[in-house]
Symmetry: C2
Subunit: 194 residues, 2 copies
DNA sequence: TTAGTTATTGACCAAATGGTTCCTAATAGG
DNA sequence: CCTATTAGGAACCATTTGGTCAATAACTAA
């Protein structure tokens, strides 16, 4: 019927996500996006709408990937606690192993934009509920197996792990090193086991 | 000798800091700063240099205030552990009590800029060392009084508290509420006491 | 009063910003 | 082989960006 798209939408979105992840929303200009996506302005606008829509689409893509990763990694552990430990250590290695310390796109976006961008705030909330459920379920299972302390609720322990992990993610963009992260992770597990 | 400055440098810097705190570095334009500081562009440049220098000056001001606050609040507790608890709860109430959820200027700046702004990175590191020392010293004292567990070193516990607190700061810009923060704080202390 | 010094102001600037439009190219269905 | 439809690309746009500068105003020491 009409001229077919020459580029791969998914790959272009991936490239846009990388650009936003590297430099943040404000600091990523249309020119940056054009270069990263290897597209002209007009094509970007036709395919994705304006910069903000593109950003939200990129964020959604990131969050889907992230949630799948979280779920699969946790479930691949030999026990619930070991799943969590594996997840945390893997995340730390991934985040700190990047050449440019760019943290986590979600955390970055919340800090940069959530208090002035309803769509970001909404996605942050949704992702957190998802993750919180996943953690809580896992910790409950660990408590049932007597490998996690029970004087705090699974939900409370999940919150502690989340918040600590997010703190690490934020600080890896600054003074926190990989080895410091790994030590903190070890100590978190020391505190929550029986 | 010459025409005296008509405005209060310190107050102008304070206003600039508020503007950067509210909207971040990139999203704060010269026009925003002019309005916030109630000064013309020329005056700002003469008095503070360019936007980046002004930002660094504002950050330095913030960090000095913050460190004094931390020190005084912790020391005003009846015991080391109570000092830390008082500090954490006070911080949470302050940060969450703002009309615009804007977190902490340092954490915001690290996430937005530390991986591309050497001066921010350097200040982040310096502030963290200061704070880490303060925490470690306090926790050591608490351990000596048998009010904090000793199977982790004071330095390790300090890291855990820092990272958790920073995670909270970041997330108050998103989905984390004040009451959730207070509960997390309570649980942190549950985990570190004997 | 005056000379020297510094602050304030507003006009000015080049470059970059996000965003639009319009013309051409390419395709699939009839 | 048309024709409707959509993609691509480049030129274009107004606005805003951070930043400069020259003219003027205000002050003090002599």
């Amino acid at each position: 019927m009409a001229r077919p798209r020459e580029f791969d939408m998914d790959q272009a979105l991936e490239q846009a996500m990388q650009a936003f992840w590297n430099h943040g929303y404000e600091a990523t200009s249309l020119s940056d996006l054009m270069e990263a996506m290897d597209l002209q302005k007009g094509s970007i606008y036709k395919a994705f709408g304006d910069k903000h829509s593109l950003f939200i689409a990129a964020l959604d893509r990131y969050l889907d990937d992230l949630h799948n990763f979280n779920k699969e990694t946790i479930e691949s552990g030999s026990t619930p606690k070991e799943g969590l430990r594996l997840w945390l250590n893997t995340e730390i290695k991934l985040v700190c192993g990047q050449t440019l310390q760019r943290g986590c796109l979600l955390v970055n976006s919340i800090v940069e934009r959530a208090n002035q961008d309803e769509e970001v705030a909404q996605r942050a909330k949704a992702h957190f509920m998802r993750t919180h459920k996943l953690f809580t379920k896992t910790i409950e299972a660990g408590q049932a197996l007597n490998e996690i302390r029970t004087d705090l609720s699974a939900s409370e322990i999940a919150q502690l792990i989340s918040v600590s992990f997010i703190g690490m993610l934020a600080m890896t963009k600054g003074p926190l090193t990989k080895s410091a992260c790994l030590q903190i992770a070890k100590n978190i597990f020391k505190l929550i086991e029986i």
